[in-house]
Amino acid sequence: MIPQTFEYTAPQTLEEALGLIAGGDRKILAGGMSLIPLMKLRLATPGEVVDLGRVSGLNGISENGGVVSIGAMTTHHAIETSRVTRAHCPLLAETAGHIGDVQVRNVGTLGGAVAHADPAADYPAALLALEAQIKLISAQATRSVAASDFFLDAFTTALEPGEIVLEVEVPAEDQSEGYSYEKVPHPASGFAVVGIAARIKKDGNRIAMARIGVTGMGAHAFRALAAEKVLENGGSVADAAATVGDGETPNSDLYASADYRLHLARVHAARALATAISRAS
């Protein structure tokens, strides 16, 4: 469990970092909670590693005009505990608290997790439910991609070569909203066997808005659009949950076969929705 040799650079500025990333076979170290284990296993053997840990301006959480901006190098712990996230996007804070364990949350970063796009990662579910925008930057340009257009396949995102995640913009949740992240963690790895992020806005007894992000179940996280519609059209939680995963090919592994995983996703979707509805005012 010893990584192969590599060259290491730790740029101080974004410009410097983007210049380095623009050329060559370079891996980006953004915390390293996924990359370093892969390097130790020698499943990843990059020749050069660019550590974003010292780039100024990539770290921080702020709220401005109803949008919460979170720098790519912000740790899960910061997102879990920040007053800004807890006040304005509590779903994301709650989700962050489910990632790995305390030590992992102290080091792992939002940008790293999003760019790695593990099919069982927690954030994507919440980012989809929150309709977050992921801002990407390269030496040439900056662009913003909706979360729903960002996660394309297992470990595959809209990131182009030379691009990095700059920050994630989350529209602030309405104070009246209810939210919940329901996760079935794998007992060994802690990865999401399934994870459901739900947001609910009520209008009296009617559900005015439902947003449901699902992770762990398919090759990449997705929005359960049909379920959202069921709820917004006055359908029951049970009916909504029963549509989650329709048309998806569920992942299958030793812990959860495809049919069990699909079932879990539906059960936990119902539970997440129930919690979100109970929290909505």
């Binding site: 469990m1 010893i2 192969q4 040799t5 020698r42 079935v184 794998h186 007992p187 060994a188 790895s189 030793l254 812990y255 959860a256 076969s257 069990y260 079932h263 879990l264 059960v267 936990h268």
Partner: protein, 778 residues
């Protein structure tokens, strides 16, 4: 001379904090990987990625050319050294020759093929990946029942039936019992492969001293002396030129009750390169190449009367041995047979073991070693019988227990249970949970469609292992007690504790026996150059055998001290009181220090007495001990997801006399955690090609803090007559009592759905599928 004597408080029985902890909580304890030596090299082992393959060739050139590499060893280099030893012998046992490194074939994933030695750990890892091994993969078989099927790939080509041994044991007349039976219940019960997973992996540092022609090996083991004898045998060197030092050991649980190829290899390499060499196992290696536990497929048949009286028990036991025999591999299932009657009065038993080779790492002793399998089997069968008879599982147990006046009790398997009151722990546990109330609550819950289970197990185990007649290489234990010239006391125990806390419990015994301050006692272990020969720590024997040896050594020493006391006091009637010797007539006393000085200065000596104050005792136990207890587990099963939550865990254990209740509680908690691990989460899974696909802790689920219920632990104390301390042993009790109680509880929860048995681990998916199959979701 002082005349006032204050008798120190009795320490035995007190839950005092441990003597060994200050070094452990400050990070200053020394484990194998903490050892550094001048000129020390590092070894990395190249292992087979295939479960079965011919080795067509090995090219070490690139590795040897890598800067910093000093040597690469392959099978050819060690071909003429001895084999990894198996100490067990059974009639007709087939023992494959277990070379230190693979010769022309590999037999399991992780089989060592070559060793790369370099100046640096990182360089060794780099160079290991440069060793090119050409494999010609062969069909593999990883499942013991498939290995027995006609046409299965032969693990060892010379034995196409994959059978290492068969073993039959019978007691009483099972034929008659099954003819007399009014009911017979049958069940296939598995006990899955488990990975012991001590948090410290194995590791070895070996150093050759050419001037002395001697080797020093630091190794993380439970049995330093046996390792010395057996590794010296492999290397063909005099064993008194091999010194084995066991520094701090970060957990063993049976996995370090063994002699491994790497221990002999590092000794060999240190001598070959003339430099100290270190090898520390990675977690992957630990999973692939350190022994696993369990691996049973058991077919039970239980004969009984309709009133619940159990008559006879038949067992066909298929033991997955793996590809080789490690130290005790074939012996483990025989322990299961010995304990198959449990705590019950069976008139007859019959057992057939089939030991099966598979292309997997060998199985061997893991916490409980054979007894958890036996207990799981009988305790499941009793519950299955109770369910068939519509009897309460507690009632059927009370009916069949060996009575408290029947000890020593001769079992149909040839054992003599030492002492017991088997009903008492169950009565206590039932009172503690309000069993009748719980059953009522369960009825209400069931009526509401909830799946609530109450499970119990009443276990017996065989401990204080064991009388030498029943052991391959001696079952006694040794202790030396020295009163140093300054009056301080040094204990050298042949047992080699590694977390159990004998530095404390032994010091408690010494402090009480000699009346000295516990802080004046030092317990030394794990160095063959310092400590007299010993057997080691396993089979819940540390205190029950090692502590008894210590007790007898102390009696000898006390007799000698008294002679010096009498001499100094000029009296024939003296007593040892506290840390002094007192003249019974005058009350005058001499202190320990004064007697020690007299003994070592030896200006005058009592008649027929040697100078010095040292006593050594090798104690041969006359019997095993048989702890017992009752565990009750209350579970709730989530009907939607199959998830199990444990509402209550009550353990009432009887491990005989208790020396330190705090440490005993710790053993129970840890044992239960490993039992729960087996019951709910852990399973070493090999795929059909023999790949271990639970290859790291990212897939093999060890219990975490949040998984564990609160364990409500209490005790009954039935002293063992086997040893003078009255102790029975407690290292494995929690594990043995746990898994059947949990499974019984979950089966009880699911019984309204017609479920009668579930094999471990009880994963949510498995439970969910059972619920779905039974239509229980609707």
């Amino acid at each position: 001379m002082a005349t006032t004597i204050s008798k120190p408080a009795t320490l035995v029985g007190k839950g005092i904090r441990r003597q060994e902890d200050p070094r452990l909580i400050t990070g200053t304890a020394v484990y194998v990987d903490d050892i550094k030596m001048p000129g020390m090299h590092h070894a990395a082992i190249v292992r087979s990625p295939h479960a079965a393959a011919r080795i067509a060739g090995i090219n070490t050139e690139a590795a040897l050319a890598h800067p910093g590499v000093v040597a690469v060893f392959t099978g050819a280099d060690v071909k003429n050294l001895g084999a990894v030893p198996c100490a067990s012998s059974l009639p007709g046992l087939r023992v494959p020759h277990h070379h230190l490194l693979a010769q022309d074939r590999v037999y399991y994933t992780g089989h060592p093929v070559a060793v790369v030695v370099a100046t640096d750990r990182y360089v060794a890892a780099d160079a290991a990946s440069l060793v090119e091994v050409q494999y010609d993969p062969q069909p593999a078989v990883a499942d013991p029942e498939k290995a027995l099927a006609a046409g299965a790939p032969a693990v060892h080509p010379q034995w196409p039936d994959n059978t290492s041994f068969t073993f039959h044991q019978e007691g009483g007349d099972t034929g008659q019992a099954f003819r007399d039976a009014e009911i017979v219940v049958k069940q296939r019960i598995t006990s899955q492969r488990l990975i012991p997973t001590s948090i410290e992996t194995r590791g070895v540092v070996a150093e050759w001293r050419p001037g002395e022609k001697s080797l020093t090996m630091f190794t993380s083991t439970q049995i330093p002396h046996l390792v010395r004898t057996l590794v010296a045998g492999i290397l063909g060197m005099p064993e008194n030129h091999l010194r084995v030092i066991t520094p701090e050991v970060g957990g063993g649980f049976g996995s370090k009750l063994n002699v491994y190829a790497e221990e002999a290899l590092m000794c060999y390499i240190a001598k070959e390169i003339g430099k100290p060499v270190k090898w520390v196992e990675s977690r992957r290696e630990n999973f692939q190449a350190t022994i696993h536990g369990r691996g049973h497929v058991d077919y039970y048949e239980l004969a009984a009367k309709r009133d619940g009286t159990m008559l006879g028990l038949k067992l066909k036991l298929i033991q997955d041995l793996g590809a080789y025999h490690q130290l005790l591999t074939p012996a483990i299932p025989t322990l299961s047979v010995l304990m198959m009657p449990g705590l019950y009065k069976f008139k007859s038993i019959s057992a057939d073991i089939i030991g099966v080779f598979t292309n997997c790492v060998p199985t061997d002793a893991y916490r409980g070693a054979g007894r958890p399998e036996a207990t799981h089997g009988i305790e499941r069968m009793v519950d299955i019988l109770a369910a068939e008879l519509h009897m309460d599982p507690a009632e059927i147990r009370f009916k069949n227990f060996v009575g408290k006046d029947e000890f020593p009790y001769a079992t149909t398997t040839g054992l003599f249970y030492d002492s017991g009151n088997y009903a008492l722990p169950l009565q206590n546990a039932m009172a503690q949970v309000d069993y009748a109330g719980l059953r009522q609550e369960q009825a209400t819950a069931r009526a509401a469609g909830k799946l609530m289970g109450i499970g119990l197990s009443t276990y017996g185990e065989i401990c204080a292992i064991g009388p030498s007649a029943a052991m391959p290489a001696g079952g006694w234990e040794s202790a030396t007690v020295k009163i140093e010239p300054s009056g301080k006391v040094t204990v050298m125990t042949g047992a080699s504790p590694h977390g159990q806390g004998e530095e404390t419990t032994f010091a408690q015994i010494v402090a009480d026996e000699l009346g000295v301050d516990i802080d004046d006692v030092m317990v030394v272990h794990g160095d063959t150059a310092v400590v007299q020969y010993g057997i080691g720590t396993f089979g819940s024997r540390g205190t029950a055998v090692g502590g008894a040896a210590l007790f007898y050594a102390l009696q000898e020493l006390k007799a000698k001290i008294k002679k010096f006391g009498a001499m100094l006091l000029g009296s024939d009637n003296v007593s040892l009181v506290g840390g002094s010797c007192v003249d019974d007539a005058t009350g005058k006393s001499v202190s320990f220090a004064e007697m020690a000085v007299a003994a070592y200065h030896a200006k005058t000596l009592p008649p027929n007495t040697q100078p010095g104050l040292v006593a050594t005792y090798f104690w041969e136990p006359p019997n095993f001990t048989f702890p017992f207890g009752a565990h009750i587990v209350v579970t709730d099963v989530d009907r939607e997801t199959g998830r199990i939550s444990i509402r209550r865990y009550v353990a009432v254990d009887d491990c005989g006399k208790i020396i330190n209740p705090l440490l005993v509680a710790g053993q129970v908690h840890g044992g239960v955690a490993q039992g729960l691990g087996q019951a709910l989460w852990e399973e070493a899974v090999y795929d059909e090609q023999g790949q271990l696909i639970t290859g790291e802790l990212t897939d093999y689920a060890l219990p975490k803090a949040s998984f564990m219920p609160l364990i409500e632990s209490s005790h009954t104390e039935t002293p063992s007559p086997v040893n003078p301390l009255g102790v029975k042993g407690v290292g494995e009790a929690g594990t043995i009592g746990c898994s059947p109680a949990v499974v019984n509880s979950v089966v009880d929860a699911l019984s309204p759905l017609g479920v009668r048995h579930i094999d471990m681990p009880l994963t949510p998916q498995k439970i969910w599928k059972l619920i779905v199959q039974s239509g229980g979701l609707s």
